[in-house]
Structure formats: C-alpha cells, structure tokens
C-alpha cells in the first residue's frame, strides 16, 4: 500500500455516464493485481470528505486505469478532471481475485454487470496472458450500460451479452446467458462483479452446477485500509457468519463464503 498524492492523468475518455482515467503512477502501478482497488481523493478540499473506492481497471507498466460510472457527486467531480490534472490515490488495497489457478484447460467464465466490468477487464487480460480460455458474460439494463463492449470485442475477447430491454445481445439477464451456457459446458471457475442481486443469482446458479466462484463486493468505505470497521458484510469464517471487512479481507470473496442479503 502506497500513497501517490500526484498521479498524473495521461488519458481520459467519457462515454455516456462512464469515465475512464489513465494515470501515471510508478509508485503504485507495479504492485497491482486484478480485483484490488484504490482509494481515490476527489478534490484536495474537505469536500467531498471521503476517498472513493474504485477498482483497478487496467495496468500497463507504470500506468493505472480506473473505469467508473458517474453515480453521485464524487464520481461526477472525478470525471471532470482532465488530462494533465493529478489525482491523489492510495493503493493497491484489498485482496483481489485468485487467478493463478490450474484451470485444467477448461474455460473460465467472467461475469459482469454494468460498471462491475471495471475490475473484470483487468482480470480477463491477465487470464488471457496466461493463455486461459476466457469467456465473458456481460449484462446491463440497455446497450448504454455495456460501455466496454466495443473495446473488448476489438481486443478479441469472447463475449456474450444481455440487455434487459434487448437493445443489445439477448433480451434478459446475464443469468439467462449463463443458464444456457451451463447446459453445454461447465467452466473451471467463475469470476463475477456487478449489482448485488445479480451476483447472488449468479452464485446460486454456479453453485447449483458445482462451479466454484469468486465475487467482488462493494461496500461504503471510510478508510479502505481496515481501520474503521465501516465496510463490513456478513461472510462465513470458519463456518460462522461474521461481519468481515470488505476492504481488507476482500473485496473479492469465494462465492460460498458470502452470506447474501435477503431480497426485500
């Protein structure tokens, strides 16, 4: 964990409600793994007060990328930064995906919903480098909520998409894609990130088919470094459900350890 108070933005792209920032950060970039995150200071002032947790979306040598949806004031202000501006970042934080596994030449599924694709892109890239056969399942409300689609396609990723309104891919949920796919093959492993309700359904499906999985969870964070106990969720530890810190013990957890929220 390092702080880089002046990571310089070298590239910024905006696409609908999504922003991508690439920063030069030799202090932090070399240490990052997929699934880890940064705590990002929005402005140098005392408002907004807290840093924002954002996953590492990509890393190329000394450069890091973030990819985020504008959902509130903090992300809106971040998206207004320009090339040449600096960002104060802290990271890499948390435990990422465990991806140096022996997948026995079987395919590996990467399942993303909306902005949940952010860390999965980094993961998929690393898996590809290791010559793992990756299949990406990507769902969103509509085609605008699948912002990385074109990029991932052009990079040759194997992609299946769904949208709730049918504006791209099949009409339905990403679980519909998975259900269909599970009929013909079972992956060696499944990684997912997206809205909690989606992840829960993905987990149920995967576990019904005996597929091991990891999920990246979100939680409101005070510190990101395990000091405030603010980010807890119920996780099974030694068989017992306890409030576990997402920032330190996660954000990635094995599917079977997560105690999913009851639906309202």
């Amino acid at each position: 964990m390092f702080t880089d108070k002046e990571a310089r933005i070298v590239k910024k792209t905006l696409q609908n409600d999504f922003a991508a920032l690439t920063m030069e950060s030799p202090a932090i970039a070399p240490h990052c793994f997929p699934g880890q995150f940064l705590m990002v200071r929005v402005l140098p002032q005392q408002y907004p007060l807290l840093r924002r947790p954002l996953s590492i979306h990509d890393r190329i040598q000394s450069r890091l990328s973030l990819f985020f949806k504008i959902t509130g004031e903090g992300t809106a202000l971040l998206a207004r930064k320009n090339e040449g501006d600096t960002v104060d970042i802290l990271g890499p934080l948390g435990r990422g995906f465990t991806f140096d596994r022996n997948f026995k030449a079987k395919p590996v599924y990467v399942v993303g919903g909306g902005r949940g694709i952010a860390p999965l892109y980094f993961l998929a890239g690393e898996l590809k480098k290791r010559r793992v056969h990756v299949r990406i399942f990507y769902g969103g409300k509509n085609s605008k909520e699948l912002p990385l689609l074109a990029k991932m396609r052009s990079e040759g990723f194997n992609l299946d998409c769904s949208t709730e309104d049918g504006s791209y891919g099949i009409q339905g949920m990403v679980t519909d894609l998975l259900k269909k796919s599970f009929k013909s093959e079972l992956p060696a492993f499944l990684y997912a990130c997206g809205p909690e309700a989606m992840m829960k359904n993905v987990y149920i499906l995967a576990s019904e088919h005996g597929v091991s999985s990891e999920f990246s969870l979100e939680s409101i964070m005070g510190c990101g470094i395990g000091a405030c106990w603010g980010c807890v969720k119920r996780i099974r530890k030694d068989g017992i459900g306890t409030w576990v810190k997402i920032c330190e013990d996660g954000p990635v957890f094995p599917g079977q350890d997560i105690i999913w929220e009851k639906n309202d």
Binding site: M1, L49, C223, A227, W229, G230, V232, W243
Partner: protein
C-alpha cells in the same frame, strides 16, 4: 529545536498529537503508512470485555464535510487484545492508550482490571460517550451522576491513569466534566461524535443499520472547539481536544483554547499519514512564530471582546 513535548502530569507525550479511538484500528493497521514512533500516542479502538459484533451495516454515511458512523464498537474483546495485539504494540515507543467500553459500570471495571498493571499501557480512556450503542443514542456521559459512577467505579478498579471521554450531546458539558473530575479522572478528552441521522429519501429508511450514528469530521470542529474552550475556562484538568482536526492549524486552535493535547480521528481515513503531517505542521508553525515550547501555546486565547465604540 522546538520542544514539542507535553506533560499531562500523569503522562509525558513526545508531542501533542494522538490518534483517536476507532479511527486508528489497533495501531498496526497504520504501520505500513507511518512511523508510529513519531506520534505523541494513539488510542486503540474501543474494547469491551468480550468480543462484540457491532451494528448491522450500512455503518457509514458521508455528509457535507462530515461522516456519520454507527460501527457499534465491533471488536475482539480485551482478552484477545492483551493476548494477541498488545505484545505486538510493545515495540513502539509512543504512548498507548486503551479505549475502555462497557455495557454497565461492572464491565468498564472488569476491562480496566484486566488491563491494570500491564506493561506498555500509558492510560485508559473511558468511552462513556459512544452515541451508537443504544438505539436512542443515550450514553453515561449525558448525565453527571452516571458519569461520576462509572469513573469512580473504574478508578477503584485500576491504578492506570484515567482519561474520561465526554459526549457533545449535552446541554452543559462543563457539568459532566466536573463530575468526571470529581470522580478522579486524570484528564478529559472531548469530544466524541454528535448524534445524527441520515435517511434515504427514496426508501423512506434510515441510511444506517443502527438508525442513528455519530457525526465526526471537519464540520464539527467549531462545536468541539467551543466545548473545549468552555471546559478549560471552568476547570483545571488536562484536556485532550478532539473534533474535525485535520491540519496542524486545527490542532493548534484546540491548544490555544485550552487543550494540552489533541486527537485526530476521521482525518486518518482521508490520509493515513494525517497524524505525522499534523505534527510536522505544528512544528513548522512554532518555528515561524518563534515558539520554542509548544506547551506555551496552551490556553492562550485572548478573550478581548471588542466593545462597541462611540
């Protein structure tokens, strides 16, 4: 060389800056970011006798220049602390203060007894002011008698110096301060968080699992500063100022208002190195102003109310 040391009477600090309870974990969490030996000291997260689950999430809400928390003192309990954490803290040369919690007077006393006489512990800070334990936010520090009773009971149970941490959610904080003083507290730290509520308009639900929580951060500084000044004007007991401190200037303002030392809370979340940065800023200010001993600045507020002229 500027003398940053502070003498609380029962405890000498190498500088006036402590990390506040609940915002600094058990200290070790910050070792990757700062040299803990540089601190005046740190207060560990509140400990009950037994381990404690804490409140259901969400536990945090951001507000304008503030943070509401309702952690509910999740923690490992004092025994596990002394077995597993305390030995690892002994290597650090800085004051270690234990934040002591309890559901009733007996529990406070049991925790204090368990800690009594252990090596490496500089003082106990009695947390009688956490607003997010009871659903209505009540705590012993909201009443002079309850305050007196808890402090007195713990005082009888331990020979370790006692700091009593007061609540800002009161009509007259000096009345509570007097009780704690009379019951034998060696120092007071003020303040804990302000009882607050945030709701989700769409859901018509409180944002925090515990409904109420405690407000901290820069937004509370003017209120905390007022309480420190009121208390220092009325009582002669070492005060530790807390509330929204995020710069050396903030820290020095509390000292000018009568605090001998300060605690830095929420600022640790924004910058893990906030405490050491604040120490450096205090030193720099003293250098610029030609102050050779930082303790000389304590209580120097000139209250010369400008009288209207003509």
């Amino acid at each position: 060389m500027i003398d940053l040391s502070i003498d609380l009477g029962f405890l000498k600090l190498k500088n006036p800056v402590l990390a506040a309870s609940g915002t600094f974990g058990y200290g070790l969490e910050f070792a990757p970011y700062i040299d803990l030996n540089k601190l005046g000291g740190f207060v560990v997260k509140g400990l009950y006798f037994n381990a404690r689950e804490g409140n259901p999430p969400p536990r945090l809400v951001e507000t304008p220049a503030g943070l509401i928390n309702a952690i509910g003192l999740q923690g490992i309990g004092v025994k596990k602390f002394t077995n597993e954490i305390l030995p690892r803290l002994l290597e650090f040369r800085t004051a270690l203060i234990i934040n002591v919690c309890g559901d009733d007077e007996e529990e406070y006393a049991r925790v204090a007894e368990h800690l009594d006489g252990r090596k490496g512990i500089s003082a106990l800070e009695l947390n009688i002011s956490c607003p997010n334990l009871k659903q209505d936010g009540r705590c012993p520090a909201m009443d002079p008698d309850s305050t007196y009773r808890v402090v007195k009971r713990v005082k009888n149970a331990t020979s370790t110096p006692l700091i009593t941490k007061l609540s800002p959610n009161v009509t007259d904080i000096t009345a509570i301060a007097i009780s704690a003083h009379e019951a034998g507290s060696h120092a007071l730290s003020l303040v804990n968080t302000f009882l607050a509520l945030a709701i989700s308009l769409e859901d018509r639900k409180p944002k925090l699992g515990n409904v109420f929580g405690g407000l901290s951060g820069p937004c509370i500084k003017p209120l905390a500063l007022r309480m420190v000044y009121q208390t220092s004007s009325r009582l002669d007991i070492p005060l530790i100022g807390i509330g929204g401190i995020s710069s050396g200037r903030d820290a020095l303002e509390f000292m000018v208002c009568g605090a001998k030392a300060v605690q830095v809370g929420t600022a640790n979340f924004i910058n893990p190195d906030a405490t050491v940065a604040i120490i450096a800023e205090i030193e720099e200010f003293c250098r610029q102003e030609g102050i050779s001993r930082v303790e000389d600045i304590v209580g120097t507020l000139k209250e010369t109310v400008k009288k209207s002229r003509l």
